[in-house]
Symmetry: C2
Subunit: 429 residues, 2 copies
């Protein structure tokens, strides 16, 4: 844990820096895998799954029976919990659906904006030590609400060539039945180009390790969109003496258990709080299973004291945290002034875990300072906006002359001509 007291501004650049992820050495691997999957399709997927996941894949597609059978392998308690989370996520994301916007900009000129779903999308769910079924809720629920027609899911198989039942159960509960046992760069390549089994999609969503992240960025050069670039997860807590040190410690630790490169930052206007929190971390950490991971992340954590609220908030905006927790007496100030954050947690009873699972907000959020320019996942991520205009005779007579003058000034006479022809026909109307 590193402590800083009123760090001067010229030191902030270092304090807001994230761990550097080098994607240079991944590049040549990317090109090779993308080209091979494009050329050899399913055969390439099996080859790379054997190479990277040490699994001989039979079927790439998860069979219907395996999906429906998954419900028998999950406890009722877990099913109930997933259901509570699902309902809350649905309520929050349904509220984000807005009606078309329709205005008459000038007499006779009717313009409107409608959002329509992206037809084909791909969801990526990482494998690894734990089955991240909560991420399926965060991706599939808004996709369904948006009305995406074709939703496919890729996730790497475990050593037995299987997908964890809770992943299958959650996907099925959300109405996703096209599930493929492919992970890593090869999964992203398959979603980009399509193979005999996996359909090509228009946009790819979901978190992943640095290989998956680099592959998603690479895919954007091949006519595919992605949700956002992803990096290691982060939490910044702004707290004063109204905060409860054991809670703050538990929240910092919950962030730290994601990985050794997780970022954990405490900003406080109460100098004593730093030591209280450090004591609590020491108490709690040894009771938790992932302590070795947490210790590495906590070692790099930053505890920063500012004697002014303004400096504190300016630092927070410069950092642009993925998760931002406010436990401050004057929470209104910290809320009003925040410009860059993914998801905000307010008060002592709003732990980050709540947003990760069940409050209803989305847990796929911009990391690495991207909260400065990217939104967290929301219903709009699955829609695209289209604009419409219907101009009447009166309308074109009204705005036509302005169009002629502007087109002419831009040297685009055919643009002008398209209006002049119409205005000429309407001279006597």
């Amino acid at each position: 844990m590193k402590k800083f007291i009123n760090p001067p501004r010229n030191n902030w650049k270092k304090l807001i820096a994230r761990p550097i992820i080098s994607s240079q050495e991944i590049k040549s691997v990317l090109e090779e895998i993308f080209q091979t999957v494009k050329k050899n399709g399913d055969m390439a997927l099996k080859k790379y799954t054997k190479k990277f996941d040490q699994v001989n894949l039979g079927d790439i597609f998860v069979k219907h029976k395996e999906i429906t059978n998954s419900k028998n392998l999950i406890s009722n308690r877990l099913k109930e919990a997933i259901n509570i989370a699902k309902l809350n996520i649905e309520v929050f994301h349904k509220a984000q659906k807005i009606k078309p916007i329709n205005v008459t900009t000038s007499i006779g000129v009717n313009c409107w904006q409608e959002k329509r779903p992206i037809e084909k999308i791909g969801l990526y769910i990482p494998g690894g030590t734990a089955p991240l079924f909560s991420t399926i809720l965060m991706l599939a629920i808004p996709a369904k609400i948006a009305g995406c027609k074709e939703i496919v899911l890729c996730t790497p198989p475990n050593r037995e060539g299987k997908i964890p039942p809770v992943v299958l159960y959650t996907a099925n509960l959300c109405g996703i039945t096209k599930i493929y046992k492919v992970g890593g760069i090869q999964a992203i390549a398959a979603l980009t180009f399509g193979t005999e089994t996996i359909p090509r999609v228009y946009k790819i969503f979901g978190p992943g390790n640095q290989y998956v992240t680099a592959a998603k960025q690479f895919a954007t050069f091949h006519n595919v969109a992605i949700d956002m670039p992803a990096g290691p997860s982060e939490l910044l807590i702004a707290a004063d003496d109204s905060a409860i040190p054991s809670y703050i410690a538990s929240d910092l630790l919950s962030q730290a258990e994601h990985g050794p490169d997780s970022q954990v930052i405490l900003v406080t206007t109460n100098l004593d709080l730093i030591d209280f929190v450090i004591d609590e971390i020491k108490k709690q950490i040894n009771l938790l299973p992932r302590r070795e991971i947490m210790k590495q992340a906590i070692a790099n954590s930053r505890m920063i004291y500012f004697d002014s609220n303004q400096n504190a908030v300016e630092f927070i905006n410069a950092y642009a945290p993925e998760h931002y927790m406010i436990c401050m007496k004057n929470e209104e100030y910290y809320l009003r002034e925040i410009e860059n954050a993914g998801s905000v947690f307010i008060g002592n009873y709003s732990p980050e875990s709540a947003g990760d699972y069940a409050s209803g907000t989305n847990h796929i959020l911009p990391t690495n300072g991207y909260a400065k320019q990217y939104s967290g996942l929301n219903i709009d991520s699955f829609l695209k906006q289209m604009s419409f205009q219907k101009i009447s005779v009166k309308g074109i007579k009204n705005i036509g002359p302005a169009i002629e003058v502007m087109a002419s000034a831009e040297g685009l006479d055919a643009h002008k001509n398209a209006v002049s022809l119409r205005l000429n026909d309407l001279k006597n109307e």
Copy 2:
């Protein structure tokens, strides 16, 4: 002009293909220019401006006097036209601003979503034969409505080292006064890293040639977001015998004058219309100044007859046009069924020129089939969505147990612990 009658589906892939843009050879140039601008700042900008624009730049920054003086160099007619366009664009984009969304997802769990402006943005305006002041309206007006704090504009100087007065006038009218005489890859690199003169921004907007487009995509690897990948402009018209052939021809020609690689497509359910339109194109084209450019684009144009509305619409959705014009008796069907299009123009008096300049819709739109997954520019392009949650004691008691179960099932015990600690404290409340 190429005619196709009921083309079979296996032929569609060819018919929806765009001209291929190779970005391979640009890559090494990109890396060099980005690295040099990062290292040498303004000095590098001057070096590349001399090399690519053949101009010895004195000041990079356009002086205040030059900006305010521009209003004396523009005709009143043009000023009035720009003003009409500005008002319409403002009405349409202001209507897109929505209030925060606030819901109680479960008892005691309050979640909301707010959109806040991206603080620092860069606008790119291409140079070239004509001053594209209309694009400034399309970028600067929504940026101002969104509330972006720092808006800077880069545009290449002409051979005299100057920016056209109408560009300066329009920028100033929209409240943009940080204008830099830099174009091409070096401008994008400057906006990405910042130099002594040009501030670094979080998101870069605006069209450009293939070098600028490649540079924008390259910038996304350096913590900058971009509006969208851009390609040559396109128009697809769906028309039947209710369309007026001379209007259709004029609209196809207006699209064709953008460049030899512009895409121009007519989809019709009336076979005769094709020849009527071809005759009209032949009549009109020779009267227009940019006929040599248009002839090349028209030579590659496609005139496609379908005997069913359903096939026609499915083809249009497969093509995903940037601009989509509907001159059909059953326009309702073509409107309802369109899934992928940037901006839609309905009826005989809604030429594409109207949307390019003055109807109020935005003219920065997804090309190259990207209408399948990208929105045209709109107010949301300048905002990012943040989510908030405030959970009460009652709220955490309500959803806490579900969070514990889910965190535990994902093997994230520190996540669980953050909730358990709180629930334990609240046992007797």
